[in-house]
């Protein structure tokens, strides 16, 4: 049956190597990774600019720069942008680019599904941000507690953009996660057992499972919010027997696993970089992997630590307090293993290493403040103050962003064939490291001094003026650092030093192929005998697990005979249809059928398009 409609697919998907069309129809995991990465960095700058405006307003007491209404939109969209449009897609960018390279595969399991994930992400992000133009962005905070989100207290469309935007983004992430699970479980090079997988791939697998299990919970919450707002179904209306707390339970049952979704990719990245720049294997590989698994499991049992003040009763909060504190154990295991990876090593303090060390040192601070508000009595004094804002930025900025930056500097040469400028990189690092501490460090203090979060103004005489001014100066330092980062990327793309295949003397498979990698990644699928196959190949005398004496080197295939999946425009059509459907719901739920029809058409076109190697085994 494939051949009957094969002509359609073939006509539309004539392979071309460059140009906009080739990017729109690409199904190459490396290119999709680039698309994710570039979009995520742009959204990061957008979310950062929103934060910058917040900081300018808060720089002085009784400031008049930004009105209360706009301020609420800014902090809501700042968080949504950073969480859903910057860090998660940056993680996806790394997953896309690296997983097949690290496991010795030629692509992901479902290349077109992969493209669909990206386009859904992009359109969902556009939908969410289009609210700024159509009458106001969501303004109830990123966790949007009911019943402030009802049609009574949030009339207008802003909360519908929130709901539908996140629904589209959720489908995108779910599709991506399913794809990565299958890719990692099913496409490893011969010999790469689970316990020989690079730690980054392990963390990718864990994050993907977290997404698979956490996203449907958020989806249910969002669906209920949607039905409540559109059809008066009283899920969160106390006067009809509904319960506003249901939203909080659902949101945080998703939301807490979500914060580990945000941090584990960075932990994976750091677990690759520290060994490389110490010239030692990761200390306690097994412990680091299982600590990751444990964090993921426990992440589902702690959600109520965001709800210590809603009145759950002493027994419940005592239990959730204990489960929350327990997470410090596996996290500590990781921290100590990283430190002892450095121990006795030969540390080369290049930019990726600096960012990784920045990650470890700052994440510890964020983790410890986390343990402090895991104690419910303390949390009564800390919740919804800047102490929490400090915590979340130390783990998210000091943690996730620092780790992802490390990854960008580390794998940029593999992606582009050129090194990032080391001089600018070091300046970028120090500006970020110092700027971050100046911005978020004082937030601890101002939080202890009682400054609530989400306030657009505060009075003279509150005792917070100086600290806030300092924080705003920190934001300026961060902005300068990020401008330097942008300059560095552009300069390195044009005139960076040529990298070679293995500029860092690294340890995993992706460094064994050329930079940038060929479309098919590996001409010979490698055979794996150890955790660090490439390092062991370079230093057979030091290898822990040696290949058997009779091992035969894999034979390289003729590149011309390697079939890669055909480009396809169906993913973007399906993504467009689905996002249009979501957008039209806001206009009129019945109009949404137009989007639905486009989606259906896309799905059928997709099914009958010959997909290339994916279909023949």
């Amino acid at each position: 049956m494939a051949s009957a409609v094969g002509a359609i697919g073939a006509a539309g998907a004539a392979p071309s190597e460059s140009g906009v069309w080739s990017w729109i129809t690409t199904v190459d995991h490396k290119r999709i990774g680039v698309l994710y990465g570039v979009s995520a960095i742009l959204f990061f700058l957008l979310g950062g600019s929103e934060a910058f405006l917040i900081r300018m307003q808060l720089a002085s007491a009784d400031a008049d720069l930004i009105s209360s209404g706009v301020f609420s939109q800014l902090f809501t969209m700042h968080a949504l942008t950073m969480v859903f449009l910057a860090i998660m897609p940056l993680g996806a960018a790394f997953f896309n680019f690296l997983i097949p390279l690290q496991i010795g595969a030629r692509d992901v399991a479902f290349p077109r599904l992969n493209a669909l994930s990206y386009w859904l992400f992009l359109f969902g992000a556009i939908l969410l941000n289009s609210s700024f133009v159509f009458g106001g962005a969501p303004d109830a905070g990123w966790f949007a507690y009911a019943n402030l989100t009802s049609t009574t207290y949030s009339p207008g469309d802003s909360m519908d953009f929130f709901t539908l935007g996140l629904l589209v983004l959720g489908v995108s992430s779910l599709a991506a996660a399913l794809n990565f699970v299958v890719t990692i479980l099913n496409m490893r090079a011969p010999g790469m057992t689970l316990m020989r997988m690079p730690v980054f791939t392990w963390m990718a697998l864990i994050v993907s499972f977290l997404l698979v299990f956490a996203l449907p919970i958020l989806t249910v919450g969002l669906v209920e919010l949607l039905l409540w707002r559109f059809f008066d179904m009283p899920f969160f209306s106390a006067e009809f027997g509904g319960d506003p707390l249901l939203w909080q339970h659902v949101f945080w049952l998703f939301g807490h696993p979500e914060v580990y979704i945000l941090i584990l990719p960075a932990m994976g990245i750091v677990s690759e970089i520290l060994p490389t720049f110490s010239k030692k294997p990761l200390f306690g590989y097994t412990a680091v992997v299982f600590a990751g698994v444990a964090i993921a499991f426990m992440g589902f049992a702690v959600w109520a630590h965001h709800m210590f003040t809603v009145g759950l009763g002493p027994v419940a909060i005592a239990a959730f307090s204990a489960s929350t504190m327990l997470i410090a154990v596996p996290t500590g295991i990781k921290i100590f293993n990283w430190i002892f990876t450095l121990w006795g090593g030969s540390l080369d303090l290049r930019t990726p290493m600096l960012f990784s060390l920045g990650f470890v040192s700052l994440f510890i601070i964020g983790g410890l403040s986390g343990v402090m508000h895991a104690s419910p009595p303390l949390d009564r004094q800390q919740q919804d103050t800047y102490f929490i804002v400090a915590h979340l930025h130390y783990v998210l900025f000091g943690g996730s962003i620092m780790g992802l930056m490390a990854g960008i500097y580390f794998w940029f040469p593999k992606l582009t064939g050129r090194m990032m400028g080391e001089g600018l990189g070091v300046i970028h690092f120090w500006l970020m490291f110092i700027g971050m501490n100046v911005t978020f460090g004082p937030m601890h203090l101002v939080g202890i001094m009682g400054m609530p979060r989400r306030i657009y103004t505060y009075s003279e005489g509150s005792g917070w003026e100086f600290m806030n001014q300092l924080e705003s100066v920190g934001a300026i330092i961060l902005a300068i650092g990020l401008i330097i980062f942008a300059v560095n990327i552009f300069r390195s793309l044009r005139s960076g030093e040529v990298a070679g295949d293995d500029p860092w003397d690294a340890r995993t498979l992706e460094w064994s192929i050329s930079s940038p990698p060929p479309v098919y990644n590996f001409d010979a699928i490698p055979v794996v005998y150890s955790k660090e196959p490439f390092w062991d190949q370079k230093h057979p005398e030091l290898a822990h697990d040696k290949p058997p004496a009779d091992a035969v080197a894999p034979v390289a295939e003729d590149p011309a005979s390697i079939h890669m999946p055909n480009p396809s425009y169906w993913p973007i059509i399906v993504a467009f249809g689905a996002s249009l459907m979501a957008g039209l719901v806001i206009v009129n739920p019945y109009l949404a059928f137009i989007g639905g029809a486009i989606t259906m058409m896309g799905v059928y076109g997709w099914i009958f398009e010959p997909a290339g190697p994916e279909e023949h085994h």
Binding site: L178, L185, M187, P216, G241, A551
Partner: protein
């Protein structure tokens, strides 16, 4: 994907690491995710079934005999799904088509029952917006119904496209049917849970 794994130290001649087809593993993982989706909806229902401030309450509207019948229909469709897959795997074109069609028809019958049930409830004064029981009931069973509907469309697509070639769906493509079957059985099992939790337990109290 050609992995040329003859030199592999421990994997056999299989094309995938686990030996499971990519699409099958995808389906399994997707269904795991669906468990959490329905789990959350069921949890909402349990939270709300007795929380309504005004009626109708579950005992007043639920019609166990009718729903038992539709449940029986749906369970039967799981049997016909098994028969369809078996037929296709042994290359029996005609029975393959018949059982696929039968499964689709049974699924559609179930949907018919559901439409009837929804209409009854609305006539008895239970709309989705009437109270939290209504809201959580219609959301849960509605989403289940939507899943059945997707399954019916999928089955009908398989049925129609089996006529594209006179060989029907060849045994080598039986995976196409098997995937649909996995999905179909899952939707059935979810219904068994819903039937127990929503209908039997709620009407007993």
């Amino acid at each position: 994907m050609a992995t040329h794994s003859t030199t592999a130290p421990h994997t056999g001649p299989l094309a995938t690491t686990t030996g499971l087809d990519h699409r099958k593993l995808l389906m399994w993982t997707f269904l795991a995710s669906e468990c959490l989706f329905f789990g959350s909806l069921i949890a909402t229902f349990l939270l709300f079934k007795d929380a309504s401030v005004s009626g109708p309450i579950p005992q007043e509207v639920l019609n166990i005999p009718v729903t038992s019948t539709s449940t029986f229909v749906l369970l039967t469709s799981s049997l016909s799904m098994v028969l369809a897959l078996a037929a296709i795997q042994r290359g029996d074109i005609v029975s393959g088509r018949v059982w696929i069609l039968a499964t689709a028809v049974l699924g559609a019958t179930f949907l018919g029952f559901q439409v009837f049930e929804f209409k009854e409830f609305i006539d008895e004064g239970l709309k989705p917006s009437t109270n939290v029981f209504g809201a959580s009931f219609f959301t849960l069973t509605g989403f289940h119904g939507a899943h059945v509907a997707v399954g019916v469309i999928w089955l009908m697509s398989l049925f129609i496209f089996s006529f594209k070639s006179k060989d029907g769906i060849p045994a080598s493509k039986s995976l196409d049917v098997e995937l649909c079957g996995l999905y179909w059985h899952f939707v059935d099992i979810v219904w068994v849970v819903i039937f127990t939790v929503v209908y039997l337990i709620s009407s007993l109290e």
